[in-house]
């Protein structure tokens, strides 16, 4: 059974953390992953940096630019991660834009993920329709869960379709925004959270975008299974380095 499925079955709210691989320093990847696991994080999204991250706000853009400048590549990330399963057991997801994966070769990429022990992928600019028609069988062959996004503007019909193609959880984007743009949730988000909860989807939902502290984490997970923090954690790394990860995590819950 995939580690993501096991984790989702636990009777607790999921805290997922995103970080950009290769930032702050090229070789921080393993230390950050280990630090997150020992701080009690449930799931980790390892960001594969891209030169043109369309769906991301300034914080993740800057960390991506810095990571690329530090020399991060797909090959180097895989090399860093090759022994990760000797020390880390929580689910690991790689999040990245489609072009670098396409250049690596989608099947090669998926195979490498399986070899390492990566559990899933989030590829924001690979649309669910294209995935379903062209790539689904490859992902399934290598036991990878592909995670799709929904937003407040996504129609019920399309949410049902995304739910039917999904096999782990749904990444619920909290508001119409890029990452790191807003913090806190208003009435609009609350009613969106409730609308989705009432749909009784097959896949649990994990909320992302706009979560930065325990207050927003608790709001987001009132009806959803979990929440993802990205930009706020990257800011923490920028300000405090990789040594005090638990300080950040323990304040969330």
């Amino acid at each position: 059974m995939n580690r993501i499925h096991q984790k989702l079955q636990e009777n607790k709210k999921i805290l997922s953390i995103y970080f950009t691989a290769g930032y702050p320093a090229l070789d921080d990847t393993i230390e950050i992953i280990q630090g997150l696991e020992s701080s009690g994080v449930d799931l980790i999204e390892i960001g594969l940096p891209f030169s043109d991250p369309l769906a991301d706000g300034p914080t993740i853009q800057e960390s991506s630019t810095a990571a690329l400048k530090n020399g991060m590549t797909t090959e180097i990330l895989f090399e860093q991660l090759k022994d990760i399963r000797k020390t880390v057991s929580i689910p690991l997801i790689i999040m990245g834009y489609f072009n670098p994966i396409l250049q690596y070769g989608v099947e090669n990429f998926c195979k490498k993920c399986q070899d390492i022990g990566i559990d899933g992928l989030i590829i924001p600019d690979l649309p669910v329709d294209v995935y379903n028609d062209e790539y689904r069988s490859i992902f399934e062959k290598y036991g990878l869960i592909n995670v799709f996004l929904i937003t407040p503007q996504t129609s019920d019909e399309r949410i049902r379709f995304i739910d039917s193609v999904s096999a782990g959880f749904i990444y619920m984007v909290s508001s119409a925004s890029v990452t790191g743009a807003k913090t806190g949730f208003g009435k609009e988000q609350q009613s969106y959270f409730e609308r989705i909860a009432e749909m009784n989807l097959t896949n649990p939902q994990i909320v992302g975008f706009g979560i930065s502290n325990s207050e927003t984490f608790n709001q987001a997970t009132k009806s959803a299974k979990g929440a993802i923090i990205g930009s706020a954690f990257i800011k923490h790394l920028t300000n405090h380095g990789t040594e005090n990860i638990s300080d950040f995590i323990t304040k969330i819950r």
Binding site: F50, S51, D52, P53, L54, A55, G57, P58, Q61, E62, T65, L68, T73, T74, E75, Y97, F98, N99, P100, I101, L102, Q103, Y104, P124, D125, L126, P127, V128, V130, F148, L149, I150, T151, Q153, T154, S155, R158, V173, A176, S177, V178, A181
Partner: protein
């Protein structure tokens, strides 16, 4: 073989809509409506009226006698340089502003490199009284001060793109991010035949007026609708798409695309995507693009700000891959010389983009009885400083 987009926006293997889910509702709304709206009688009437009375269409198809004599072939220039705002860009912005109005949008965003598309967008927004925000790379803002001033005079807000390399591709990223943040009231006027479906097809259809006019104008002058060759420069490729559009399916018409070689194909400072690009995804479209082995998009270079885009529109990628189009790349120096040559020979100072198209005459020989139409996409006023610096005028 078809050279137009299919219903999913693919030209052969190129095109599609590789967009984050946040953009899906916007693109889907446009996809479902654009052809229906463009076919409405009231839309056509308003579009044609504005092209005629506001843009100044039809633009002349001019027989360049001295140029023809010099190169011993029959050369016609399609005078898009005479359009209001100085280039073909306004054909598309007129079309899209009317589209935006019909979709009930009250805010316009656009990206711009050299500022030509930004000016054309700010112009139509002023015309319609609609709020306009133009994203422009911080570096381009410094380089293109007169166009920034024009946009401001026209009432647009120019926002600097400060991310990445701070040029056109980053301005495009910022515009897309703005659209993600404003999904309901905003229409994004993309300036070229790039971006996710339906943009490449929609922009090509708006620019298709260029080849539509060439057909009847050539019929009047030569008694035949089809030239032997149509030549256009390609950055993203909107003027080329418009010039080729009605000739795509007629294989007797040769299609010649001219890219910017910059300082030379192998110099590391080039924008010749067909020579240097590989299949990949840029700004929501699968196309040929310049990138590292690792899939990071690289920064192109050309002396012409309108040609330094790291990709080409999916239509052009398909024309290249299928062999339907002949692709030639021209260096900065050759383009500048051609610009000076046209100025002296025909009394027309071309935009440096268009100068690239003229430069092929030095290396690509045509028969004496060939009819060659060169799309003169814009005028050179905006490039005066570059010409001055290059030739120490």
């Amino acid at each position: 073989m078809s050279y137009n987009a299919n219903s999913k926006g693919y030209y052969g293997e190129f095109g599609g809509a590789y967009i984050p889910e946040m953009l899906y509702p916007n693109c889907e709304e446009l996809r479902q409506n654009y052809i229906i709206i463009m076919q409405e009688a009231s839309f056509k009437e308003e579009f044609e009226q504005l092209l005629k009375d506001y843009v100044g269409r039809p633009t002349p198809l001019y027989f360049a006698e001295r140029l023809s004599k010099k190169y011993n072939t029959k050369i016609y220039l399609k005078r898009e340089d005479l359009c209001h705002t100085g280039a073909h860009k306004v054909n598309n912005t007129i079309g899209q502003i009317l589209m935006a109005k019909r979709l009930g949008k009250n805010r316009i965003i656009a990206e711009t490199g050299a500022g030509q598309h930004g000016v054309a967008t700010a112009t139509v927004c002023a015309l319609m009284g609609i709020k306009c925000v133009v994203y422009m790379g911080e570096i381009d803002i410094e380089r293109q001060a007169p166009n920034v001033a024009r946009m401001k005079m026209l009432g647009a807000e120019v926002r600097p793109a400060k991310s990445g390399s701070r040029t056109l591709k980053d301005a495009t990223n910022e515009a897309i991010r703005d659209w993600i943040n404003n999904p309901v009231d905003t229409h994004y006027i993309i300036g070229s035949v790039v971006g996710p479906h339906p943009y490449p097809d929609m922009v090509a259809r708006f620019q298709a007026i260029i080849s539509e006019e060439i057909k009847w104008q050539l019929k009047e002058k030569e008694g035949r609708e089809n030239p032997d060759y149509v030549v256009a420069c390609v950055g993203g490729g909107s003027n080329a798409a418009g010039a080729y559009y009605h000739f795509l399916d007629n294989e007797n018409v040769g299609i010649i695309a001219v890219e910017a070689a910059g300082k030379g194909i192998d110099s590391g400072e080039s924008a010749a995507t067909s020579a240097l690009g590989k299949v990949g995804i840029i700004h929501g479209s699968k196309t040929l693009l310049m990138q590292t082995a690792d899939g990071q998009i690289t920064e192109p270079y050309s002396i012409s700000a309108g040609l330094d885009y790291p990709g080409v529109g999916p239509m052009h990628a398909h024309l290249f891959k299928s062999g339907r189009g002949e692709f030639i790349s021209i260096t900065d120096n050759a383009a500048m010389e051609a610009g000076l040559m046209i100025s002296k020979l025909e009394g027309i100072i071309p935009a440096i983009e268009s100068s690239h198209a003229f430069a092929i005459l030095e290396e690509r020989k045509f028969n004496a009885d060939d009819i060659v139409v060169i799309n003169l996409s814009g005028r050179g006023d905006k490039d005066l400083n570059t010409y001055i610096d290059h030739f120490n005028l």
